[in-house]
Amino acid sequence: MIIKVLGSGCNNCVKLEENAKIAAKELGLDAEFIKVKDMEGISSYGIMRTPGLVVDEKVVSYGRVLDVNQIKELLKK
Protein backbone atom coordinates (compact mmCIF):
# COMPACT_ATOMS: atom_id res chain seq x y z
CA MET A 1 0.00 0.00 0.00
CA ILE A 2 1.31 3.44 -0.94
CA ILE A 3 0.01 6.44 0.98
CA LYS A 4 0.73 9.89 -0.35
CA VAL A 5 0.26 13.12 1.56
CA LEU A 6 -0.25 16.11 -0.73
CA GLY A 7 0.62 19.54 0.59
CA SER A 8 3.22 22.25 0.39
CA GLY A 9 4.55 21.55 3.87
CA CYS A 10 2.33 23.64 6.09
CA ASN A 11 1.38 22.52 9.60
CA ASN A 12 -1.76 20.78 8.42
CA CYS A 13 0.11 18.48 6.05
CA VAL A 14 2.62 17.50 8.71
CA LYS A 15 -0.18 16.70 11.13
CA LEU A 16 -2.13 14.68 8.58
CA GLU A 17 0.93 12.59 7.79
CA GLU A 18 1.57 11.93 11.48
CA ASN A 19 -2.03 10.80 11.95
CA ALA A 20 -1.90 8.61 8.85
CA LYS A 21 1.28 6.93 10.07
CA ILE A 22 -0.28 6.16 13.43
CA ALA A 23 -3.43 4.87 11.74
CA ALA A 24 -1.48 2.55 9.43
CA LYS A 25 0.60 1.29 12.31
CA GLU A 26 -2.41 0.59 14.51
CA LEU A 27 -4.05 -1.34 11.69
CA GLY A 28 -0.82 -3.26 11.12
CA LEU A 29 -0.63 -2.20 7.48
CA ASP A 30 2.56 -2.33 5.50
CA ALA A 31 2.39 1.16 4.06
CA GLU A 32 4.94 3.24 2.25
CA PHE A 33 4.59 6.99 2.80
CA ILE A 34 5.39 9.53 0.12
CA LYS A 35 5.22 13.29 0.51
CA VAL A 36 4.13 15.23 -2.55
CA LYS A 37 5.20 18.83 -2.07
CA ASP A 38 5.57 20.31 -5.54
CA MET A 39 2.60 22.13 -6.99
CA GLU A 40 2.71 20.24 -10.25
CA GLY A 41 2.41 16.97 -8.40
CA ILE A 42 -0.35 18.17 -6.12
CA SER A 43 -2.40 19.65 -8.93
CA SER A 44 -2.14 16.49 -10.98
CA TYR A 45 -4.50 14.91 -8.48
CA GLY A 46 -7.07 17.61 -9.17
CA ILE A 47 -7.52 18.80 -5.60
CA MET A 48 -8.03 22.47 -4.73
CA ARG A 49 -7.65 22.24 -1.00
CA THR A 50 -4.63 20.85 0.80
CA PRO A 51 -3.75 18.67 2.59
CA GLY A 52 -4.78 15.75 0.43
CA LEU A 53 -4.55 12.07 1.23
CA VAL A 54 -4.01 9.57 -1.58
CA VAL A 55 -4.16 5.83 -1.03
CA ASP A 56 -2.89 3.69 -3.90
CA GLU A 57 -3.32 6.58 -6.35
CA LYS A 58 -6.90 7.29 -5.26
CA VAL A 59 -7.73 10.60 -3.55
CA VAL A 60 -9.58 9.70 -0.38
CA SER A 61 -9.67 13.07 1.36
CA TYR A 62 -8.75 16.69 0.77
CA GLY A 63 -8.91 20.00 2.58
CA ARG A 64 -9.19 18.39 6.00
CA VAL A 65 -6.85 17.19 8.68
CA LEU A 66 -8.39 13.85 9.51
CA ASP A 67 -7.81 12.33 12.93
CA VAL A 68 -6.41 8.83 13.44
CA ASN A 69 -9.81 7.15 13.65
CA GLN A 70 -11.14 8.79 10.51
CA ILE A 71 -8.07 7.66 8.59
CA LYS A 72 -8.46 4.13 9.92
CA GLU A 73 -12.00 4.03 8.53
CA LEU A 74 -10.69 5.08 5.13
CA LEU A 75 -7.84 2.60 5.15
CA LYS A 76 -10.09 -0.30 6.01
CA LYS A 77 -12.05 0.11 2.77
Binding site: M39, S44, G46, R49, T50
Partner: protein, 334 residues
Protein backbone atom coordinates in the same frame (compact mmCIF):
# COMPACT_ATOMS: atom_id res chain seq x y z
CA UNK B 1 -32.18 52.49 17.80
CA UNK B 2 -31.41 52.50 21.52
CA UNK B 3 -31.69 48.72 21.62
CA UNK B 4 -29.26 48.48 18.72
CA UNK B 5 -26.69 50.75 20.32
CA UNK B 6 -27.05 48.84 23.60
CA UNK B 7 -26.43 45.51 21.87
CA UNK B 8 -23.61 47.11 19.90
CA UNK B 9 -21.93 48.32 23.09
CA UNK B 10 -22.33 45.04 24.95
CA UNK B 11 -21.46 42.50 22.27
CA UNK B 12 -19.36 44.39 19.77
CA UNK B 13 -17.56 47.18 21.58
CA UNK B 14 -17.61 45.28 24.89
CA UNK B 15 -17.56 48.44 26.98
CA UNK B 16 -18.02 46.23 30.07
CA UNK B 17 -14.73 44.50 29.29
CA UNK B 18 -12.96 47.85 29.05
CA UNK B 19 -14.35 48.76 32.49
CA UNK B 20 -13.37 45.37 33.88
CA UNK B 21 -9.80 45.73 32.61
CA UNK B 22 -9.62 49.27 33.98
CA UNK B 23 -10.57 47.78 37.33
CA UNK B 24 -7.87 45.07 36.97
CA UNK B 25 -5.20 47.62 36.05
CA UNK B 26 -6.00 49.90 38.99
CA UNK B 27 -6.35 46.79 41.16
CA UNK B 28 -2.69 45.92 40.71
CA UNK B 29 -1.82 49.45 41.74
CA UNK B 30 -1.18 51.12 38.38
CA UNK B 31 -2.55 54.53 37.49
CA UNK B 32 -4.82 54.16 34.46
CA UNK B 33 -3.67 57.58 33.26
CA UNK B 34 -0.01 56.65 33.38
CA UNK B 35 1.88 55.44 30.33
CA UNK B 36 2.30 51.92 31.67
CA UNK B 37 -1.23 51.67 33.01
CA UNK B 38 -2.82 52.88 29.78
CA UNK B 39 -0.64 50.57 27.66
CA UNK B 40 -1.50 47.60 29.83
CA UNK B 41 -5.19 48.45 29.65
CA UNK B 42 -5.09 48.68 25.84
CA UNK B 43 -3.22 45.37 25.65
CA UNK B 44 -5.52 43.43 28.01
CA UNK B 45 -8.76 44.85 26.67
CA UNK B 46 -7.90 44.43 22.99
CA UNK B 47 -6.41 40.96 23.37
CA UNK B 48 -9.36 39.53 25.27
CA UNK B 49 -11.89 41.30 23.04
CA UNK B 50 -10.27 40.09 19.82
CA UNK B 51 -10.03 36.50 21.02
CA UNK B 52 -13.66 36.42 22.18
CA UNK B 53 -14.90 37.94 18.94
CA UNK B 54 -12.60 35.75 16.86
CA UNK B 55 -13.81 32.49 18.35
CA UNK B 56 -17.48 33.35 17.94
CA UNK B 57 -17.00 34.83 14.49
CA UNK B 58 -14.84 32.07 13.06
CA UNK B 59 -17.39 29.52 14.18
CA UNK B 60 -20.25 31.39 12.52
CA UNK B 61 -18.30 32.19 9.39
CA UNK B 62 -16.98 28.64 8.99
CA UNK B 63 -20.51 27.33 9.27
CA UNK B 64 -21.65 29.59 6.42
CA UNK B 65 -18.48 28.80 4.49
CA UNK B 66 -19.07 25.07 4.69
CA UNK B 67 -21.81 25.64 2.10
CA UNK B 68 -19.37 27.25 -0.33
CA UNK B 69 -16.29 25.06 -0.83
CA UNK B 70 -14.02 26.13 -3.72
CA UNK B 71 -15.29 23.22 -5.82
CA UNK B 72 -18.76 24.72 -5.75
CA UNK B 73 -17.44 28.25 -6.29
CA UNK B 74 -15.65 27.05 -9.41
CA UNK B 75 -18.84 25.52 -10.74
CA UNK B 76 -20.90 28.67 -10.06
CA UNK B 77 -18.28 30.96 -11.59
CA UNK B 78 -18.09 28.86 -14.75
CA UNK B 79 -21.63 29.89 -15.64
CA UNK B 80 -20.88 33.61 -15.82
CA UNK B 81 -18.97 35.75 -18.30
CA UNK B 82 -17.38 39.18 -18.42
CA UNK B 83 -17.56 41.60 -15.53
CA UNK B 84 -20.42 39.74 -13.82
CA UNK B 85 -18.02 36.82 -13.40
CA UNK B 86 -15.47 39.18 -11.81
CA UNK B 87 -18.08 40.62 -9.45
CA UNK B 88 -19.31 37.19 -8.49
CA UNK B 89 -15.71 35.99 -8.06
CA UNK B 90 -14.99 38.86 -5.69
CA UNK B 91 -18.19 38.26 -3.72
CA UNK B 92 -17.61 34.52 -3.45
CA UNK B 93 -14.07 35.33 -2.33
CA UNK B 94 -15.54 36.89 0.79
CA UNK B 95 -17.23 33.66 1.86
CA UNK B 96 -15.07 30.85 0.50
CA UNK B 97 -12.81 29.21 3.08
CA UNK B 98 -9.28 29.65 2.04
CA UNK B 99 -5.92 29.67 3.72
CA UNK B 100 -2.82 31.08 2.11
CA UNK B 101 -1.23 27.66 1.70
CA UNK B 102 -4.18 26.62 -0.47
CA UNK B 103 -3.98 29.59 -2.82
CA UNK B 104 -1.87 27.87 -5.44
CA UNK B 105 -3.87 24.63 -5.77
CA UNK B 106 -6.91 26.86 -5.93
CA UNK B 107 -5.42 29.00 -8.67
CA UNK B 108 -4.52 25.87 -10.64
CA UNK B 109 -7.93 24.34 -10.02
CA UNK B 110 -9.76 27.41 -11.28
CA UNK B 111 -7.52 28.05 -14.26
CA UNK B 112 -7.32 24.47 -15.48
CA UNK B 113 -11.11 24.29 -15.38
CA UNK B 114 -11.15 27.08 -17.95
CA UNK B 115 -12.02 30.07 -15.77
CA UNK B 116 -10.48 33.29 -17.13
CA UNK B 117 -7.46 34.33 -15.05
CA UNK B 118 -9.04 37.75 -14.46
CA UNK B 119 -11.90 36.09 -12.62
CA UNK B 120 -9.50 33.93 -10.61
CA UNK B 121 -7.59 37.06 -9.60
CA UNK B 122 -10.77 38.84 -8.52
CA UNK B 123 -11.35 35.87 -6.24
CA UNK B 124 -7.75 35.68 -5.03
CA UNK B 125 -7.68 39.38 -4.13
CA UNK B 126 -10.97 39.58 -2.28
CA UNK B 127 -10.52 36.32 -0.42
CA UNK B 128 -7.86 37.39 2.12
CA UNK B 129 -8.83 41.07 1.99
CA UNK B 130 -12.49 40.93 2.87
CA UNK B 131 -14.02 38.24 4.99
CA UNK B 132 -17.05 38.24 7.16
CA UNK B 133 -15.10 38.03 10.41
CA UNK B 134 -12.93 41.02 9.61
CA UNK B 135 -15.99 43.10 8.78
CA UNK B 136 -17.48 42.54 12.21
CA UNK B 137 -14.15 43.25 13.91
CA UNK B 138 -13.89 46.52 11.98
CA UNK B 139 -17.37 47.43 13.18
CA UNK B 140 -16.29 46.64 16.73
CA UNK B 141 -13.10 48.68 16.61
CA UNK B 142 -14.31 51.58 14.46
CA UNK B 143 -17.97 51.57 13.45
CA UNK B 144 -20.42 50.04 11.00
CA UNK B 145 -20.05 52.75 8.40
CA UNK B 146 -16.33 52.12 8.12
CA UNK B 147 -16.87 48.36 8.07
CA UNK B 148 -19.29 48.58 5.14
CA UNK B 149 -17.14 51.10 3.31
CA UNK B 150 -14.17 48.74 3.72
CA UNK B 151 -16.10 45.82 2.23
CA UNK B 152 -17.31 47.93 -0.64
CA UNK B 153 -13.87 49.23 -1.62
CA UNK B 154 -12.30 45.78 -1.08
CA UNK B 155 -14.76 44.16 -3.48
CA UNK B 156 -14.40 47.02 -5.97
CA UNK B 157 -10.61 46.68 -5.85
CA UNK B 158 -10.91 42.94 -6.55
CA UNK B 159 -13.35 43.45 -9.43
CA UNK B 160 -11.39 46.28 -11.07
CA UNK B 161 -8.02 44.54 -10.72
CA UNK B 162 -9.42 41.29 -12.12
CA UNK B 163 -11.06 43.10 -15.01
CA UNK B 164 -7.86 44.92 -15.91
CA UNK B 165 -5.93 41.64 -15.81
CA UNK B 166 -8.54 40.10 -18.15
CA UNK B 167 -8.06 43.01 -20.56
CA UNK B 168 -4.33 42.33 -20.79
CA UNK B 169 -5.07 38.82 -22.11
CA UNK B 170 -2.28 37.16 -20.23
CA UNK B 171 -3.35 33.56 -20.40
CA UNK B 172 0.13 32.80 -21.81
CA UNK B 173 1.65 34.06 -18.57
CA UNK B 174 0.60 30.98 -16.66
CA UNK B 175 3.02 28.10 -16.08
CA UNK B 176 2.47 25.41 -18.70
CA UNK B 177 1.72 22.57 -16.34
CA UNK B 178 -1.41 24.36 -15.10
CA UNK B 179 -3.20 23.69 -18.36
CA UNK B 180 -2.20 20.06 -18.45
CA UNK B 181 -5.45 18.35 -17.65
CA UNK B 182 -5.40 16.31 -14.52
CA UNK B 183 -5.93 12.64 -15.08
CA UNK B 184 -8.28 12.48 -12.15
CA UNK B 185 -12.02 12.60 -12.63
CA UNK B 186 -13.75 15.53 -10.98
CA UNK B 187 -14.37 14.64 -7.40
CA UNK B 188 -17.81 14.53 -5.96
CA UNK B 189 -18.56 16.86 -3.09
CA UNK B 190 -19.15 15.12 0.16
CA UNK B 191 -22.60 15.56 1.62
CA UNK B 192 -22.41 17.25 5.00
CA UNK B 193 -24.85 16.93 7.86
CA UNK B 194 -25.45 19.65 10.44
CA UNK B 195 -23.26 17.65 12.80
CA UNK B 196 -20.43 17.61 10.23
CA UNK B 197 -20.71 21.35 9.72
CA UNK B 198 -20.55 21.98 13.45
CA UNK B 199 -17.50 19.73 13.70
CA UNK B 200 -15.79 21.45 10.78
CA UNK B 201 -16.55 24.88 12.27
CA UNK B 202 -15.16 23.88 15.67
CA UNK B 203 -12.04 22.49 14.00
CA UNK B 204 -11.48 25.70 12.09
CA UNK B 205 -11.87 27.83 15.24
CA UNK B 206 -9.07 25.80 16.84
CA UNK B 207 -6.96 25.84 13.71
CA UNK B 208 -7.28 29.57 13.04
CA UNK B 209 -6.75 30.61 16.67
CA UNK B 210 -3.67 28.38 16.72
CA UNK B 211 -2.45 30.04 13.55
CA UNK B 212 -3.14 33.69 14.40
CA UNK B 213 -2.72 34.06 18.16
CA UNK B 214 0.88 35.16 17.88
CA UNK B 215 0.06 37.76 15.20
CA UNK B 216 -2.75 39.08 17.35
CA UNK B 217 -0.49 39.42 20.40
CA UNK B 218 2.24 41.12 18.35
CA UNK B 219 -0.35 43.38 16.70
CA UNK B 220 -1.93 44.38 19.99
CA UNK B 221 1.52 44.86 21.52
CA UNK B 222 2.56 47.23 18.74
CA UNK B 223 -0.84 48.90 19.03
CA UNK B 224 -0.31 49.44 22.76
CA UNK B 225 3.12 50.98 22.09
CA UNK B 226 1.74 53.32 19.45
CA UNK B 227 -1.20 54.14 21.66
CA UNK B 228 0.69 55.18 24.72
CA UNK B 229 4.46 55.20 24.38
CA UNK B 230 5.46 56.56 21.00
CA UNK B 231 4.91 60.34 20.94
CA UNK B 232 2.07 61.54 18.75
CA UNK B 233 4.28 64.15 17.10
CA UNK B 234 6.60 61.41 15.88
CA UNK B 235 3.77 59.43 14.30
CA UNK B 236 2.04 62.38 12.66
CA UNK B 237 5.38 63.58 11.29
CA UNK B 238 5.62 60.28 9.39
CA UNK B 239 2.01 59.43 8.70
CA UNK B 240 0.05 62.60 9.39
CA UNK B 241 -2.85 63.47 7.15
CA UNK B 242 -1.15 66.57 5.82
CA UNK B 243 1.76 64.54 4.45
CA UNK B 244 1.24 63.53 0.83
CA UNK B 245 3.47 60.49 1.30
CA UNK B 246 1.59 59.03 4.28
CA UNK B 247 -0.57 56.64 2.21
CA UNK B 248 2.18 55.40 -0.16
CA UNK B 249 4.48 54.91 2.81
CA UNK B 250 1.93 52.94 4.81
CA UNK B 251 1.13 50.82 1.74
CA UNK B 252 4.73 50.05 0.82
CA UNK B 253 5.60 49.13 4.41
CA UNK B 254 2.58 46.82 4.53
CA UNK B 255 3.09 44.96 1.25
CA UNK B 256 5.95 42.60 2.16
CA UNK B 257 4.59 41.92 5.64
CA UNK B 258 2.80 38.70 6.30
CA UNK B 259 0.16 38.90 8.97
CA UNK B 260 -3.45 38.23 9.49
CA UNK B 261 -6.07 40.94 9.28
CA UNK B 262 -6.81 40.26 12.95
CA UNK B 263 -3.26 41.20 13.90
CA UNK B 264 -3.25 44.40 11.86
CA UNK B 265 -6.55 45.76 13.17
CA UNK B 266 -5.25 46.82 16.60
CA UNK B 267 -2.34 48.60 14.90
CA UNK B 268 -4.75 50.47 12.64
CA UNK B 269 -6.88 51.31 15.67
CA UNK B 270 -3.94 52.78 17.58
CA UNK B 271 -2.72 54.72 14.54
CA UNK B 272 -6.10 56.35 14.06
CA UNK B 273 -6.29 57.28 17.74
CA UNK B 274 -2.95 59.06 17.28
CA UNK B 275 -4.27 61.28 14.53
CA UNK B 276 -3.31 59.18 11.52
CA UNK B 277 -5.88 59.37 8.71
CA UNK B 278 -8.35 56.51 8.46
CA UNK B 279 -7.31 56.06 4.81
CA UNK B 280 -3.66 55.66 5.79
CA UNK B 281 -4.55 53.07 8.43
CA UNK B 282 -6.81 51.14 6.05
CA UNK B 283 -4.19 51.25 3.29
CA UNK B 284 -1.71 49.68 5.69
CA UNK B 285 -4.20 46.98 6.68
CA UNK B 286 -5.14 46.17 3.10
CA UNK B 287 -1.51 46.07 1.99
CA UNK B 288 -0.59 43.64 4.76
CA UNK B 289 -3.49 41.28 4.11
CA UNK B 290 -3.78 41.39 0.31
CA UNK B 291 -0.11 40.94 -0.50
CA UNK B 292 2.83 39.45 1.29
CA UNK B 293 6.29 38.23 0.42
CA UNK B 294 5.41 34.54 1.03
CA UNK B 295 2.28 34.74 -1.13
CA UNK B 296 4.17 36.46 -3.94
CA UNK B 297 6.88 33.79 -3.81
CA UNK B 298 4.21 31.09 -4.00
CA UNK B 299 2.39 32.74 -6.91
CA UNK B 300 5.65 32.99 -8.79
CA UNK B 301 5.64 29.22 -9.09
CA UNK B 302 2.53 29.24 -11.28
CA UNK B 303 2.58 32.57 -13.11
CA UNK B 304 5.30 34.28 -15.09
CA UNK B 305 6.99 37.54 -14.12
CA UNK B 306 5.02 39.83 -16.38
CA UNK B 307 1.66 38.82 -14.90
CA UNK B 308 3.09 38.86 -11.39
CA UNK B 309 4.32 42.43 -11.83
CA UNK B 310 1.00 43.53 -13.33
CA UNK B 311 -0.91 41.91 -10.46
CA UNK B 312 1.23 43.44 -7.71
CA UNK B 313 1.29 46.91 -9.25
CA UNK B 314 -2.46 47.03 -9.84
CA UNK B 315 -3.20 45.98 -6.27
CA UNK B 316 -0.65 48.39 -4.76
CA UNK B 317 -1.94 51.28 -6.86
CA UNK B 318 -5.55 50.41 -6.02
CA UNK B 319 -4.80 50.35 -2.29
CA UNK B 320 -3.11 53.75 -2.50
CA UNK B 321 -6.09 55.26 -4.34
CA UNK B 322 -8.45 53.82 -1.72
CA UNK B 323 -6.27 55.23 1.07
CA UNK B 324 -6.25 58.72 -0.43
CA UNK B 325 -10.02 58.62 -0.98
CA UNK B 326 -10.66 57.53 2.60
CA UNK B 327 -8.39 60.28 3.92
CA UNK B 328 -10.31 62.85 1.88
CA UNK B 329 -13.82 61.66 2.67
CA UNK B 330 -13.28 59.58 5.80
CA UNK B 331 -14.45 62.31 8.18
CA UNK B 332 -17.99 61.56 7.04
CA UNK B 333 -17.55 58.01 8.32
CA UNK B 334 -15.94 58.50 11.71
Amino acid sequence: MQVFSFLNDVFLKMTWLSDLMRWVVSGIGLDIQSQLGASLHFFLYDTVKIFILLSVLIFGVSYIQSFFPPERTRKILGRYKGISANILGALLGTITPFCSCSSIPLFIGFTSAGLPIGVTFSFLISSPLVDLASVILLASIFNWKIAFAYVAVGVILAVVSGTIISKFKMEDQVADFVFRKSSMPEMELEVLSIKDRIRISTESVKEIIYKVWLYVLIGVGIGALIHNVIPESFITALLGNDKWYSVPLATLVGVPMYADIFGTLPIAEALVSKGVGIGTALAFMMAVTALSLPSIVMLKKVIKNKLLIVFVSIVVLGIMIIGVLFNSFGMYLL
